[in-house]
């Protein structure tokens, strides 16, 4: 039985033997993206889980060229890598960055914005596990409303994070970037197709992929892929693209699955009461009103 997606990517492993927790969504995203880009990808990793688990001297788990950047400097180092290799006369390579949600939406947003502004020929992948997981689960700008983290604990009066998730996808798109996309490791063929598409486009590319963290989300390690599917099916995340000034929706669930079921599965949301769940459901419906009115549907 042939698997089309598996046939379309390299059989080699470029991220192997790493020390990520069992069932890590972020490592799945990095592994899949590198299998698309191949051995000539030069990856840049800022402080975060993927650099912490990939480079434990002498255990070096990337088999392509990789470098750790400063926390804030993923995009600026990508700019330098791309310019340097181009100046040296290399043609067949891809500069790709893998930053977490904190390294993208909080700490690295200035460098990313600058790179998009200069339209440097790079791919920036944000693996979003919705908090600073590497340092022990602190709230980031991409932590969703209601999530319990060590800096937004759930008490009697305040139920976890009081702020909604930043819309990084549309922030990137607002720069009039050549290509931006959202994805989820639960829909891996879609993510792989988007990385492939990004690698063929000239200019800055931004891909935002939801990568569940079993440790931080409070789910079993084998739930990673399922929960990454469910976040899309329940309408709390969406698979979309931005290209040539237009938004396209790639996947439209016929009927949303229960938000409550999705939330209650996870330790970080278990404290939420009916009012909180109503707030989350309403904000989802509002989001989808916006999506339905301003996104085209690629239709399947």
């Amino acid at each position: 039985m042939a698997n089309k997606t598996a046939e379309s990517i390299s059989r080699e492993e470029f991220f192997y033997g790493h020390k990520a927790c069992a069932g890590c969504g972020g490592s799945l995203a990095v592994r899949a993206a590198l299998k698309v880009l191949g051995k000539n990808a030069v990856s840049v990793l800022p402080a975060g889980c993927m650099s912490a688990v990939g480079f434990n001297f002498p255990q070096l788990c990337f088999s392509n060229n990789s470098i750790i950047s400063t926390f804030a400097g993923t995009a600026s180092m990508l700019t330098g890598v791309e310019a340097g290799l181009r100046a040296k006369g290399f043609k067949d390579f891809t500069a790709v960055g893998f930053a977490g949600d904190g390294g993208t939406a909080d700490i690295g947003i200035q460098a990313l914005s600058g790179a998009i502004d200069r339209n440097d020929n790079i791919i920036y992948i944000c693996y979003d596990n919705e908090a600073y997981m590497n340092t022990g689960i602190q709230k980031s700008g991409l932590t969703p409303f209601g999530a319990k983290t060590t800096t937004t604990p759930a008490g009697r009066n305040i139920h976890g994070n009081i702020r909604p998730k930043k819309n990084m996808f549309e922030i990137a798109a607002a720069h009039d970037i050549p290509y931006a996309a959202t994805a989820s490791v639960g829909y891996l063929p879609d993510f792989i197709a988007k990385v492939k598409k990004a690698s063929q486009i000239q200019g800055t590319k931004y891909i935002h992929v939801i990568a569940p963290c079993p440790t931080g989300w409070g789910v079993a390690p084998d739930e990673t892929v399922e929960i990454a599917k469910e976040v899309v099916d329940s309408g709390l995340w969406y698979l979309a693209e931005y290209e040539n000034g237009r938004f396209t929706l790639n996947h439209k669930p016929k009927e949303f699955t229960s938000v409550e079921a999705y939330l209650k599965k996870q330790g970080r949301f278990r404290h939420l009461d009916d009012d909180d769940i109503r707030v989350i459901t309403e904000s989802r419906d509002k989001k989808w009103e916006h999506i339905n009115s301003s996104f085209e549907y690629s239709g399947k």
Partner: protein
């Protein structure tokens, strides 16, 4: 190529690189000690659909002769493969 285990595991002072770069894909330790359960492929059931290969976060599953094969040196026993397998060809067994 996938990164592979080197025979040399002890490092002397002279082996430490003088600058911040080092050989890519250099492995010295396995991850198998992390497991409390291990996936076992029932090769009579496996149809080689490669879903487990695609979704394994550690990339330890490869397809050989149309059947899934697991590299137990680096499998952490997360169980994603057993969940993703639609025909139930992968079971999780306690590690002894």
């Amino acid at each position: 190529m996938r990164p592979y285990i080197r025979e040399k595991t002890a490092f002397g002072f002279d082996d430490v690189p003088v600058n911040t770069s080092f050989e890519a894909g250099y492995l010295v330790t396995v991850n198998s000690g992390w497991r409390s359960i291990r996936p076992v492929v029932e090769s009579t059931k496996c149809v080689g659909c490669e879903q487990c290969y695609l979704y394994c976060p550690d990339g330890v599953i490869s397809i050989k002769d149309g059947k899934a094969q697991i590299d137990y040196d680096f499998c952490k026993g997360c169980g994603i493969c057993a969940k993703i397998c639609r025909i139930g060809a992968i079971g999780m067994e306690a590690e002894r």
